[in-house]
């Protein structure tokens, strides 16, 4: 399936943990597979799959909250060991990822869909049930937050 990477990236954006994102993606792909026969009825399979992924991950997050489960994932890199410049660059990129983790779910998704997957507002609106103006506001907020946090980190680095 050509868009399975997109599903995975969205799942990972929401669930953070790689393992969980992989499981979620697998589940979604299985469900799609089971629906194989009448999949032609949906005129946009990708949008349909993305919506499924979104709902699935949000459910997961909700049940995780309800079960008071801890966020368990092991793919946080140790960012204190970098000495070389190249590693430092990668480090600041990781930082962006971490900033994005702190955003509210909706902004996370919008930023993911827009800036990573390059979806247009109509597609995002369809996926998230939002009006374009609302998306624009949330997107602006998310981008500004990322920038501000990035600048904070930057000035800490200098000082």
């Amino acid at each position: 399936m050509p868009f399975k990477d997109k599903l995975y990236r969205l799942a990972k954006r929401l669930l953070v943990s790689r393992e969980e994102a992989e499981d979620a993606t697998q589940e979604i792909l299985m469900k799609l597979w089971a629906k194989n026969e009448n999949i032609g009825k949906y005129n946009n399979v990708e949008a349909f799959a993305m919506t499924m992924t979104k709902n699935f991950c949000l459910d997961r997050l909700k049940s995780r909250q309800a079960g008071n489960l801890k966020l368990v994932h092991s793919n946080y890199g140790d960012d204190n060991t970098s000495l070389q410049k190249q590693v430092e660059v990668k480090d600041s990129l990781d930082w962006v990822g971490k900033i994005m983790e702190e955003l509210p779910e909706q902004q996370k998704m919008i930023l993911q869909l827009r800036d990573v997957e390059e979806y247009d507002f109509d597609e995002i609106g369809e996926l998230l049930n939002m009006k374009p103006t609302a998306i624009r506001v949330a997107l602006s907020r998310a981008r500004k937050t990322v920038r501000e946090k990035l600048m904070q980190k930057h000035s800490y680095g200098i000082g």
């Binding site: 990236r9 992989e22 792909l29 962006v96 602006s140 981008r143 990035l150």
Partner: protein, 139 residues
């Protein structure tokens, strides 16, 4: 690419009103080496987005066996059954024919045996005839 334009685009970007094409332009600008010093802080953001897009789903999907299509399976079974009945019948007919042949052969053998017995008796009769001729000839 003039700095003016990038700055303007950045501003628009933060307001969420850039188009996809303009965002691509920004990403391209920050992907290259000579980024203006005062804009360097934005670089990780755009670079991160580019890199994030490269992430792939690498886990193998456990291949699920395709559901057996029961409709076609039943049709196939039906065909096999019909073939079975058809050829079975033919086989049975062949067996019956063989049985009939054997029975006929047996009957014919019996008949032949009896015929042979008959000829033996006729041989006696011949003897009788011969003797009778001898007697006649003497007289």
């Amino acid at each position: 690419m003039e700095l003016d334009r990038i700055e303007k685009l950045l501003e628009k970007y933060l307001e969420g009103s850039t188009s996809i094409v303009e965002e691509k332009e920004l990403r391209a600008y920050f992907a290259q080496e000579n980024v203006a010093a005062h804009l360097k802080q934005y670089a990780p953001m755009f670079q991160y987005f580019s890199i994030a897009k490269e992430e792939r789903y690498t886990k193998e999907l456990p291949l699920k066996k395709r559901n057996i299509n029961y409709k076609w399976l039943s049709i196939a079974a039906m065909a096999v059954l019909l073939f079975g009945i058809y050829f079975g019948k033919e086989y049975q007919e062949k067996k019956e024919a063989e049985y009939a042949y054997n029975e006929t052969k047996k009957a014919l053998t019996l008949l032949a045996d009896n015929f042979n017995k008959g000829t033996e008796k006729v041989a006696y009769l011949n003897e009788f005839e011969n003797t009778k001729q001898k007697i006649y000839n003497k007289n």
